[in-house]
Subunit: 239 residues, 2 copies
DNA sequence: AAACTCAACTTGTTATAACAAGTTGAGTGA
DNA sequence: TCACTCAACTTGTTATAACAAGTTGAGTTT
């Protein structure tokens, strides 16, 4: 056997999870139990558990144990991000809550100013939101809104998502340019989103334009990969 | 200080990477050097390195050292996946190579048969491809194509991407429904894609329909998160 | 000059040990 | 009954130790 012991153990546990021997939310054997079952040291048992955690299959809680990760995903449609609605999400069986962390005027960072087409260090509104799904953290959103619209809709934006709020209040949007990528949780984000260090996160970077092609909103939604996915439908150009 | 030593060390290294003190591809201090620099045991030094690896900031090679991960990303446009072209990618400064791993008729798994609207265990063509970027593995693609089209374009499909090949050869597509999600590399995929266990991967699941609304192609592209991202532009509905 | 050997590095695996810190439930006391 | 204490669990952090295995370059041999 050239495969390490900790790999053998974690692969065996992974198989047991996949065939349903351990179900979502179940507690896996403790390190001590693994030590006895496989006759290995705690380091090896621990490494096996770390493998499962790094694969997103389990999550460890100090004092409690290691539990199989629930894989309940919610789909966010990129084909129509302009009509994102709470009840559209509730239909998927998840209770959503927004928590406004920050909403204040600030000086635009260089990169943001470039995208929004305003002078560097011009005034913009910075908004940070935390999205909870069934009470647990699901995503954080950091966005910059041009100053005039920020002032105009300050009271509304502190409680709602940006796209529909703008569209419903006399600021029809023309389009949203976006990039979807994937990253690993750093120390800060792992704390915010309640995931282990290195956990996979989805990043949705967006820039919204009004009908006169003015970029007014630029930001990123960083969401837990185990709770979020994006759907879209692309039509072929006629011809 | 309640923050663990290994976190302090990895955060310090992370900062040095971010400010450019260590550049892409540079070798980080060895475990032995960290032990002396910070007066810690090898376990702690090792844990600090593991933190960087799990965050995708570095990658370790046995016998060689730990190196800062190059973050060269290629963008794939979801707004027009039907016209994916090699030269469109080459424009981004990366040399692409397709490696056909599998192309053979097989029996459709239940889930695939459902999506393609064919009887369970009907015949389909299974294709597995490996996409290399500048020689290094970038993505794997696993797709199922309905039998009649598989037979018709067998010779072509062994060398090219699916969407443009179909569109260019008399099978105009109507649309592609897709879901973008994110996962962690399991033991198999980490070997294929040359990434550490648990590394973030993007998953692009797609179903392509012809103009008569017939689903003909269903599959998934699994790509390295550090080398791939997706872009799209969403227009507001007129009205 | 070419090929081989090998010491000195590197990270990977595994064991033993101790203490810290969070959670839980049984038992004790008021 | 209620509240408190605490033992017995859990995972987290850290140290010391040894060997395995891959890489590299200096040195030797051919």
């Amino acid at each position: 056997m050239s495969t390490p012991l900790h790999i053998s153990i974690s692969e065996q546990l992974r198989h047991q999870i996949e065939v349903g021997e351990y179900r979502s939310g179940d507690r896996l054997p403790s390190e001590h139990q693994l030590m006895e079952t496989f006759s290995v040291s705690r380091i090896t048992a621990r490494q096996a558990m770390a493998n499962l955690v790094s694969q997103g299959l389990a999550i460890a809680y100090r004092g409690k144990g290691v539990f199989v990760t629930p894989q309940k995903k919610v789909t966010y449609s990129l084909s129509s991000p302009l009509v994102f609605l709470d009840h559209d999400m509730a239909r998927q069986g998840v209770a959503f809550t927004f928590e406004n962390l920050v909403f204040e005027p600030t000086l635009a960072p260089a990169a943001v100013a470039t995208v929004l087409g305003i002078p560097p260090k011009a005034s913009v509104y910075l908004q940070k939101k935390l999205l909870r799904m069934d009470g647990a953290a699901g995503a954080v959103d950091v966005s910059y809104l041009v100053a005039d619209l920020g002032e105009r809709f300050a009271s509304l934006l502190e409680q709602q998502m940006s796209f529909p709020t703008l569209a419903k209040n006399g600021i029809p949007l023309d389009r949203v340019d976006a990039v979807v990528e994937c990253t690993h949780a750093d120390y800060d984000l792992s704390g915010y989103l309640e995931v282990p260090l290195g956990h996979a996160l989805m990043v949705y970077r967006y820039t919204a334009y009004t009908r006169d092609q003015r970029p007014v909103l630029h930001g990123a939604t960083i969401s837990r990969a185990d709770r979020f996915c994006y759907s879209l439908s692309t039509r072929a150009e006629p011809g």
